[in-house]
Amino acid sequence: MTNNLSILSLLVRNEPAVLTRISSLIARRGFNIDSLAVGETHDRSISRMTITFRGDEYVKDQIVKQISKLHDVIKAELMDVTEMVARELLLVKVEAKNGQRGEIVQAAQVFGANIIELSQESLTLEMSGEVSKVTEFIEFLKPYGIAELCRTGTTALGKGQYILN
C-alpha cells in the first residue's frame, strides 16, 4: 500500500454549504485528509479548493469519483505532482528573547521568511513554501519558543499549460 500524500484540486460553485458538502462527504466515506484550502477564483462564482490526503490507489480513485458526483463540483482532478507548484503559507509568532532575535532574523533570511510584526515579547514571521520547507522552519523555531502559529494548508497550481477548467 502506497500512502503517499496526494493533492486534489477542485473547482466548485461558490454556493452556500459547498464546503460542508465536501467535508462531510470526505468524513463519511472515511477518507483521511491532511489539509484543505479554499478561496474564490478570478471568477467570483467559482472557488478553488486544494485538498491533500493520504491513501492508496483505491482511495485516490474513489475520492475523485465521489467528489465529482456532487452537484456543486465543476471539476475534480488529482494533480500530477511532477507538473505543479505547491505552496503553503505560514504565520508564526516566536517568543524571541533579547539576544536571540539576531539568530532568528538570520534564519528567516535563509528560509525566505519575512518579519511582519515586532513587539517587546515576540516576533511574527510569514513564510510561504513547500510543505516540507515550512515544517523544517517550524522545527528550527521550536527551541526559541513558539507562541502560536497558523498554516493555511497546501495550495497548488499546474505548471504552464496545465490548467484546471
Binding site: P16, D61, K65, Q66
Partner: protein, 554 residues
C-alpha cells in the same frame, strides 16, 4: 405576472409534469397547501397519516411508474419525519423531489419554533439539496431539482423553502421540463475490450441489478443474454427485470438467493454485472466471490466501478444504451457445455427449495396470491423473511412490479409504497408484509381507506421479528432477545376499525377461499396468514461468507 412563491411551487410542479403530490400539512407549508388546493383540478394531492408514509408513497409512486415522486412536509418534525423515506429512496436510486417548508429567514439560526436544518440533515442522503434564499431563483431551483433527480443515476433531491419565500411575490416565467441531458460516452476501444472479454470467456454469467429496471432495459438485456448465451442472475433490485419464465433466468443470487443462481456465479469465469453496485448482501465474502473470475462492470455511475468489486473492464453509461451498442456488435455464440452445466445445477434436488407443506407456509401463500394477480400488478414488500420469500417464490413478469427496500432495508416501507403504487398504476396493488414491519406504519391503512385504494395486504404473521429470530436461532444459541413480542393485535378488527376489511387464515385448506374473498373486496383489505414462527429463509449464505458455507436445511 407576479405570483407568490407558493404559487410558483405549484406552477413549476405542473410544468414538470407532476400529477400527484404526497404530503402532510403544517404551519410552514400552509401557503403551499393553500395554493395546491386551489389548483387541485390540475395537480392532485394525497395526505398521509405520517410524513414517513408520504415519503414512501412518493417513492412507491416513482418506482412503479418511472416518474419522479413528489413529497411535501412542514418544517421541524414534518421534515425530520421524511428522513427515513428520503434515505430509502437514496439507497435504491429512486427519483424523488422532497419539498419542505421552513421558518422565515429572519427566524433561521435562532432555534425558532419547528426550525431544523433539514438541508444539513439530508445532505448525506440526497443527490443534492437546496435552501431557497431568493424568490427569484425559486422556479429555476425546482426545475434543476427535477433534472438532478432524474439524470444519470436517479435519486432524491430536497428543496427547503422558508416561509418568507412562499409568501413573497415575483415575476413567473413559465418553462419546460429540461429532458434528460445524459449521453453515454463509451469509447470504441472500451467496447472492443468488453467484447474480447466476453468472447474469451467460457462460462459467462450476467448479473442484473436495479439499473436494468430504472433504465427500462429488459429487452436489451434479454437480447444480450441470448447473443452471448449466458444465464442471468439478479440482485433483489433487478429481480423484476427478467420474466420468471425466461429460460435464461436463474433468479436472485446472494445471501438468500436461489442456490442455482449463487452456484452458477461461483462456477463462472466472467461476471457481466449490469446496473448494480455489489452490495455486501449480494456478494458475501468478496475474496471468494471474486476468486477465479473476471468482472465486466456496466453502470451509469462511474463511482460504482471498482468501489466494491474491482472491474477488469468497465463501461460507464446508461445500461440500455450500452447494451444496445454491445448487441449491435456481438455475434451469436453458443456455449453448449456451460449451458448443460447450468441445467445440471438447476436440476439438482438441493436447488428445488420447497417448504414443508404439511402446514400453511409462506410459499403456499405467495404462490396462491399469484393466481389472483395480473402480470402488471405491483407487489410491494416490507423487510424481513417475508421479503425474501416473495423474492424467491413470487413469479414476476414485468419490470417495476416489485417494490422493495433493498439498500436501506426499511421496515415500514411497504404500506406507503403500496399506496403510492396503487395511485400511480391506478391498479390493484399487493403488499406482502410481516407482523413486525406492518406495525411500523400500519397507520397508513387509514390513508388507503380515505382514498379507497385497492390494496390487498397480506400479513405473514409468525408472531416474531422473524428475520432477526432466524439469526438468533442460527448464530445466538436460540436466545430470542427482543424478537418475541406477544402482541395482541387483532388485525381483522384493526382493519374493520379503520374502515377496511379483514380476513384471517390459519389453515391451508381455507387459503384459496379467503384469498378469493379478499381479491373481490373493494378498497383496502387485510389478509392475515398465520405461519409457523420458526419457518426459515433458505438457502442462506451467512454474512461475510461464501457459497461454500451455504445453509440449505433448517
Amino acid at each position: 405576472m407576479k405570483i407568490s412563491g407558493a404559487q410558483i411551487v405549484i406552477e413549476t410542479l405542473i410544468e414538470q409534469g407532476v400529477e400527484m403530490v404526497f404530503g402532510y400539512p403544517g404551519g410552514a407549508v400552509i401557503d403551499i397547501f393553500d395554493a395546491l388546493d386551489r389548483s387541485r383540478d390540475r395537480l392532485n394531492y394525497t395526505v398521509s397519516c405520517h410524513e414517513q408514509g408520504a415519503a414512501h408513497a412518493a417513492d412507491g409512486y416513482a418506482r412503479s411508474t418511472g416518474k419522479t415522486g413528489v413529497v411535501m412536509a412542514t418544517s421541524g418534525p414534518g421534515a425530520t419525519n421524511l428522513v427515513t423515506g428520503i434515505a430509502t429512496a437514496y439507497l435504491d436510486s429512486t427519483p424523488l423531489v422532497a419539498i419542505t417548508g421552513n421558518v422565515a429567514q429572519s427566524l433561521m439560526g435562532k432555534d425558532s419554533f419547528q426550525e431544523v436544518d433539514i438541508r444539513g440533515i439530508t445532505m448525506p442522503i440526497t443527490k443534492h439539496n437546496y435552501l431557497v434564499q431568493d424568490i427569484n431563483k425559486l422556479a429555476d431551483i425546482i426545475r434543476e431539482a427535477f433534472a438532478i433527480a432524474n439524470s444519470g443515476r436517479p435519486g432524491p433531491v430536497l428543496i427547503d423553502i422558508p416561509k418568507d419565500i412562499q409568501v413573497g411575490e415575483c415575476e413567473f416565467i413559465p418553462g419546460k421540463p429540461n429532458g434528460s441531458k445524459y449521453k453515454t460516452r463509451v469509447k470504441e476501444e472500451e467496447l472492443e475490450r468488453a467484447m474480447k472479454l466476453i468472447n474469451e470467456a467460457e462460462r459467462p454469467i450476467i448479473y442484473a441489478g436495479g439499473g436494468i429496471v430504472s433504465s427500462d432495459a429488459t429487452e436489451e438485456l434479454l437480447q444480450f443474454a441470448d447473443l452471448i448465451d449466458a444465464p442471468i442472475g439478479s440482485s433483489m433490485m433487478g429481480l423484476s427485470a427478467v420474466p420468471h419464465d425466461h429460460p435464461k433466468r436463474l433468479g436472485m443470487t446472494g445471501m438468500h438467493g436461489k442456490l442455482a443462481a449463487s452456484k452458477a456465479m461461483s462456477m463462472s469465469d466472467l461476471v457481466v454485472a449490469i446496473g448494480t453496485r455489489f452490495s455486501d448482501r449480494a456478494t458475501g465474502n468478496k475474496k471468494e466471490f471474486t476468486k477465479g473470475r473476471k468482472f465486466l462492470h456496466i453502470d451509469i455511475d462511474p463511482a460504482e466501478i471498482g468501489k466494491n468489486i474491482p472491474a477488469y473492464v468497465s463501461l460507464v453509461g446508461d445500461v440500455k444504451q450500452v447494451l444496445t451498442m454491445l448487441n449491435d456488435k456481438l455475434e451469436k455464440t453458443m456455449r453448449v457445455e456451460w449451458h448443460n452445466e447450468i441445467e445440471e445445477v438447476k436440476e439438482h434436488p438441493d436447488s428445488r427449495l420447497e417448504m414443508d407443506d404439511s402446514r400453511l407456509n409462506p410459499q403456499m401463500v405467495i404462490e396462491a396470491v399469484r393466481e389472483f394477480t395480473g402480470d402488471d400488478e405491483v407487489v410491494a414488500t416490507d423487510v424481513g423473511q417475508h421479503q425474501m420469500w416473495v423474492s424467491q417464490y413470487y413469479k414476476f413478469s414485468k419490470p417495476r412490479t416489485l417494490l422493495t427496500s433493498g439498500g436501506l432495508g426499511t421496515m415500514g416501507f411497504g404500506m406507503g409504497a403500496a399506496i403510492g403504487a396503487a395511485i400511480g398504476s391506478k391498479k390493484r396493488t399487493v403488499l406482502f408484509t410481516g407482523d413486525g414491519s406492518f406495525h411500523m406504519n400500519m397507520n397508513e391503512l387509514a390513508t388507503a381507506v380515505s382514498n379507497q385504494l385497492p390494496i390487498v395486504i397480506i400479513i405473514m404473521n409468525n408472531n416474531a421479528l422473524g428475520m432477526v429470530r432466524q439469526w438468533q436461532t442460527l448464530f445466538f444459541d436460540k436466545r430470542y432477545a427482543g424478537t418475541t413480542l406477544n402482541r395482541r393485535t387483532d388485525f381483522v378488527k384493526f382493519a374493520e376499525a379503520l374502515g377496511a376489511t379483514g380476513y384471517r387464515v390459519e389453515d391451508k385448506d381455507n387459503l384459496n377461499d379467503t384469498l378469493e374473498k379478499a381479491f373481490q373486496t373493494e378498497g383496502p383489505v387485510i389478509v392475515e396468514a398465520l405461519i409457523f414462527n420458526d419457518e426459515k429463509v433458505l438457502p442462506m449464505i451467512p454474512p461475510g461468507r461464501s457459497i461454500k458455507d451455504v445453509i440449505i436445511k433448517g
